[in-house]
């Protein structure tokens, strides 16, 4: 069987049904045909029989008629009769002849069973008669005589009933030609058909109890039955029917029909009849059998046939059903196998319009999901609703109603409380479908999402904890009491410790926060986990016991009490940072001297619907300890708890302190970054500005020089020109004094400005220069510097002493520039009154290389100390010797850019000391 079984099932059902109906139709048709054929064959057989009987009867009738005629002729042919007739013809009074004739006729009548014999003339007048009373001949006798005369042969008359008689009779006329050739004499004979003909007709030699042979004749518009009938008394010549009677076989025969017909006979009973005319007469013969007899047995056969068909149908139907059922079972088995693989239950849930509901189908997972069997909820879903968590019952009902109303997908997460598994989470997804009865049918799946939910919960808790911890750390002013205990404690570590202790002591221990939430617990007793914490009411007792009963215990004290579920609890508070944040518990035990009221326990079990025996067993398993042991243990635990509390509190305080320090560091970093950015911006501005300012200066300087150059030419021209003396003097003064003087000022000022701009450019360029920090041999560097300045130094008569200097880590070019500026200044601004001595010393202090450049110059006025580092600032004392005004600002910039600093101090022996700090080459950063 492949995977397509489920899909094939309805197709199979259709195919099986089609085959079944086809077979049924064929079977029924065959039955009907067989039945018909059987009937037809019976009918044909009967018809054949009827025709042969008719044939025989017709022959017999013919023979009888011939026999009658011949017997009359034989009588007349007799010598004696002929003699008598001749004698009587000759002498009608010949008594002897008359007697002889009479005797002969009488013998004849008696021997042949005639009623009456007579001799008559052509006119029909009786000349002589014998037997019976002399009765009138039938009315047709004269025509019979005429026929006999014409044919010379005996004639049989028709049936004839005299008025007042009950039985008809038939007359026979024979011409006595040979006996009385002289005169026309005719022998008249009357016979009673009841004696002669009827027995012949009534004799039924073949099978058939209802067989009957009729002779019928025509009388005007009517049909008259000629012989006696089986079922009607004295019918001969009396019973009549209209010739036009449609269904009457006798009438059909008279109307010329020759063959086998079906119709209703004189009684109105269905018959099968052979009809046909009787040759030589006006009669018709009907040979009939009741149809019922002909078809006798076909009814039973039909019933048997029907039974056969029916049983065949039942058999085939059963086979089809078994076949289908087999497939269905296979399909169900496969469905079960498939649904067993589904993590959860696959189900159909049906909601009736009256509010009842059930699970028409549920896979085996039902037992895991709800702890009920699919059979238990097949008719009624109530057990399932009993499993729903009370808080989720309402929302679940509403969700079902909404889904049923809108035919929207049912998607719900909800909780169940199960006898074995306890509280679990379920996820249900189902698609509803409206049923013809107005109800709703859902097809869906319910899965166990407890693990996921727990994971989510754990994640959420851990997120909360992390967030709370962060909050606690980030808000140093926050109240420690507002931090949940679980955020203070190292829960897993405590749990491990308490688990180990439980192994030793067997006393249940727990730490609960101030709201009764269990944070750490070890060695729980069955009576709590399986009973008290499961039932909502007893669970509330637990919570109340853990909070209300344990409230307001003074720090360091231990309280012992019965919990609301009648067990011993011992509690001691946990104090962190002076705040009561939770409690330490020993519990779920009894003291040796505690009363044990079994009846009360039983009552408790009954009240909350616990299994009494299991509950009692759990109660018996509650451990029993001595007061002394418990007191020792709780004392130990209290000390451990206090230790943990203190450590935790200390940890938080430390974390806060660290956080604050880190915060300060971050702020400092940010400030430094902002400062650096500002500096850079400033330097860029400076660079562009000075550059742009220099552009117009080029014109001022350039064209001033043009004028200066051209002035010489003008002067020469003026000297040659013959100007009036006064005018000449004036122009000479202009060209030789005034204009050169003005030009001198312009050029001098612009030169000064050019210098300022160059200085500014240098400063700004410094900021843009890329620094390459490397270990610097400062002693060697300064020695080289002094070498380059040797001319100036000698000229000034100065002395420069270089002590042992530590290495630093900085950019060589810029640091060289820094010290060059400092030495330059020292030489430039020395005290002329004494020999300049510059001492350069250095040391490593706190990871920094500190260099001191001390001179014995005039020193720096207190007023200048602050502004000394400003660009273009010139101390009054500098006087004419003032330079660009950027030397010290550049020194400071260089020091800062090399992560160092510079400051100036007064030299106690007169003069100044410039202190330069740079990162030490050995020291790592930040130490």
């Amino acid at each position: 069987m492949g995977n397509s079984t489920l899909a094939d099932l309805s197709g199979l059902k259709r195919r099986l049904a089609a085959v079944f109906f086809a077979v049924a139709i064929v079977l029924i048709a065959s039955g009907v045909v067989a039945h018909r054929q059987h009937q037809a064959s019976l009918r044909a057989e009967a018809a054949k029989m009827l025709l042969s009987i008719e044939q025989i009867k017709l022959e017999q009738l013919q023979l009888w008629r011939e026999d009658r005629a011949n017997s009359a002729l034989s009588l007349l042919d007799g010598h004696k009769i002929a003699g008598y007739l001749r004698a009587l013809t000759a002498d009608p009074s010949d008594k002897k002849a008359a007697d002889g004739l009479r005797a002969r006729l009488r013998t004849f009548i008696e021997r042949n069973g005639y009623q009456f014999a007579a001799m008559a003339g052509l006119d029909g007048k009786l000349l002589f008669s014998t037997g019976g009373k002399p009765e009138k001949m039938c009315p047709g006798v004269t025509s019979l005589i005429a026929k006999a005369k014409a044919s010379g042969l005996p004639q049989l008359g028709d049936f004839y009933l005299h008025p007042g008689e009950t039985t008809p009779h038939i007359d026979i006329v024979a011409p006595a030609v040979r006996a009385a050739p002289v005169r026309d004499l005719y022998l008249l004979l009357r016979l009673d058909p009841a004696n002669f003909l009827y027995p012949l007709l009534q004799a039924w030699s073949a099978k058939g109890a209802t067989g009957e042979i009729l002779l019928v004749g025509r009388d005007g518009d009517e049909l008259v039955f000629l012989n006696d009938l089986r079922h009607v008394k004295d019918a001969a010549m009396r019973l009549r029917r209209p010739l036009t009677a449609e269904a009457l076989p006798a009438a059909m025969g008279l109307r010329g029909k020759n063959g086998v017909v079906e119709g209703l006979d004189y009684r109105g009973v269905p018959v099968l009849a052979a009809v046909g005319p009787v040759p030589g007469t006006n009669w018709a013969m009907v040979t009939k059998l009741d149809r019922d007899e002909v078809m006798k047995g076909t009814g039973t056969l039909a019933v048997l046939l029907a039974l056969l068909v029916l049983s065949l149908l039942v058999a085939i139907g059963s086979v089809a059903f078994v076949l289908f059922r087999g497939q269905v079972e296979k399909a169900e088995e496969m469905l079960a196998r498939l649904t067993d693989q589904v993590p959860g239950v696959v189900y159909q849930y049906r909601l009736y319009p009256d509010g009842r509901s059930c699970f028409p189908y549920a896979s085996s997972g039902m037992e895991m999901i709800y702890e009920v069997t699919p059979e238990e909820v097949r008719e009624d879903a109530t057990p399932v609703f009993g499993r729903l968590h009370p808080d989720d019952l309402k929302s679940t009902g509403e969700a079902i109603a909404a889904s049923g109303r809108d035919l929207s997908i049912f998607h719900l997460e909800f909780r169940v409380v199960l006898p074995k598994q306890g509280l679990r989470w379920r996820l249900c997804d189902a698609r509803p479908e409206r049923l013809p009865d107005g109800g709703t049918l859902w097809h869906g799946i319910i899965t166990d999402i407890t693990d996921r939910k727990l994971a989510e919960e754990a994640l959420r808790k851990s997120e909360n904890a992390v967030r709370n911890k962060l909050n606690a750390i980030m808000s140093p002013e926050g109240d420690i009491g507002s931090i949940p205990l679980e955020d203070i404690f190292d829960i897993p570590a405590l749990q491990r410790m308490m688990d180990d202790m439980y192994q030793l002591t067997r006393i249940t221990s727990a730490i609960l926060d101030i709201n009764g939430k269990v944070l750490v617990a070890s060695g729980w007793q069955d009576i709590c986990t399986k009973f008290h914490r499961v039932n909502p009411e007893t669970c509330r007792h637990c919570l109340e016991s853990d909070t209300i009963l344990s409230r307001d215990i003074p720090p360091g004290e231990v309280r012992s009490y019965f919990c609301k579920n009648n067990m011993r609890d011992v509690a001691t508070p946990l104090i962190v940072g002076g705040a009561h944040v939770g409690n330490f518990f020993l519990g779920q035990f009894l003291y040796e001297d505690d009363p044990r009221d079994i009846e009360k326990v039983r009552e408790q079990a009954r009240r909350y619907g616990f299994d009494e025996e299991e509950y009692l067993a759990a109660y018996d398993r509650i451990p029993v300890f001595s007061r002394r042991n418990v007191e020792v243990l709780i004392s130990f635990y209290r000390q451990v708890s206090e230790l943990i509390s203190t450590l935790s509190y200390g940890k938080i305080k430390l974390a806060r302190a660290l956080a604050q320090s880190r915060q300060a560091e971050l702020e400092k970093e940010n400030l430094n970054k902002a400062l650096a950015a500002k500096n850079k911006e400033m330097e860029n501005f400076l660079y562009i500005t000075t550059h742009d300012l220099r552009s117009p200066l080029v014109n001022i300087q350039g064209f001033s020089q043009n004028i200066q150059r051209d002035l010489a030419e003008i002067r020469a021209a003026l000297a040659e020109a013959g100007l009036p003396e006064a005018r000449k003097e004036r122009t000479q003064k202009l060209s030789e004094e005034k204009v050169p003087e003005a030009l001198g000022f312009v050029l001098e000022s612009s030169a000064k400005m050019d210098m300022l701009l160059s200085a500014l450019l240098k400063v700004s360029r410094l900021g843009r220069q890329e620094l390459k920090p490397e270990p610097l041999e400062m002693g060697a560097m300064l020695a080289r510097l002094v070498d380059t300045m040797i001319f100036q130094v000698r000229e000034a008569g100065a002395e420069i002493k270089i002590g042992p200097l530590p290495l630093c880590r900085a950019d060589a070019a810029s640091v060289s520039q820094l010290f060059s500026n400092l030495l330059d200044n020292a030489v430039k601004y020395r005290d002329p009154a004494r020999k300049l001595v510059v001492e350069i010393s250095g040391e490593t202090r706190g990871g920094r290389a500190v260099y001191r450049v001390a001179d014995n110059g005039p020193g720096i006025a207190a007023a200048d100390l602050e502004r000394l580092w400003d660009v273009f600032y010139k101390p009054a004392r500098a006087g004419k010797k003032s330079g660009e005004g950027i030397g010290l600002p550049m020194c400071r910039r260089i020091a800062e850019r090399n992560s160092g600093g510079i400051r100036v101090e007064a030299n106690p022996g007169g003069g100044s000391v410039f202190v330069v700090e740079l990162p030490s080459a050995q020291g790592t950063e930040g130490t």
Binding site: T690, H691, R694, S695, V698, N699, Q701, G702, F703, Q705, N706, R709, L757, S758, L761, R765, R768
Partner: protein
């Protein structure tokens, strides 16, 4: 005097342009000077029909100009197969070593600080060997 030489000058400041012309004149350079007011104008000329094959050119480029600046024009010239043989002298307002470095890196032949003093200019010209390179000088002052 090399009369086949045309001096091209891109300089946005009229005064500067005049000063440069005069300083050249004062050292005896009489060649025609074609002046452009900015980099774009210069670049257009260099790519236009007026630039004749077979003639010799010297280009003076001011570094700082509005729009297309001298550095960019220099970069374009040096990456153009036809123009890259033209000698280029950058005109600087300052002797800022960083700018000078940039120009040398782009392939300029020399640089000239904007002329101020006649004496200084001629010294500079001499020092650069400019006269020997491009013109025959009658007289050195």
């Amino acid at each position: 005097m090399n009369e086949n030489l045309t001096i091209l000058m891109a300089e946005d400041d009229d005064g500067h342009a005049r000063l440069v012309e005069e300083r050249f004149e004062s050292v005896g350079v009489k060649n025609a000077i074609v002046r452009f007011r900015d980099g774009a104008e210069a670049w257009e000329y260099l790519n236009g029909p007026e630039l004749k094959n077979g003639r010799e050119y010297l280009l003076l480029l001011d570094i700082r100009m509005p729009g297309l600046d001298g550095v960019e024009v220099l970069r374009r010239i040096k990456s153009d197969a036809r123009l890259k043989t033209i000698p280029v002298i950058m005109l600087t307002t300052t002797d800022d070593p960083k700018e000078v470095e940039t120009c040398y890196a782009l392939g300029c032949n020399s640089y000239l600080t904007k002329p101020v003093e006649f004496k200084k200019f001629s010294e500079v010209i001499k020092r650069l060997g400019l006269f020997l390179m491009v013109v025959r000088v009658n007289k050195v002052k």
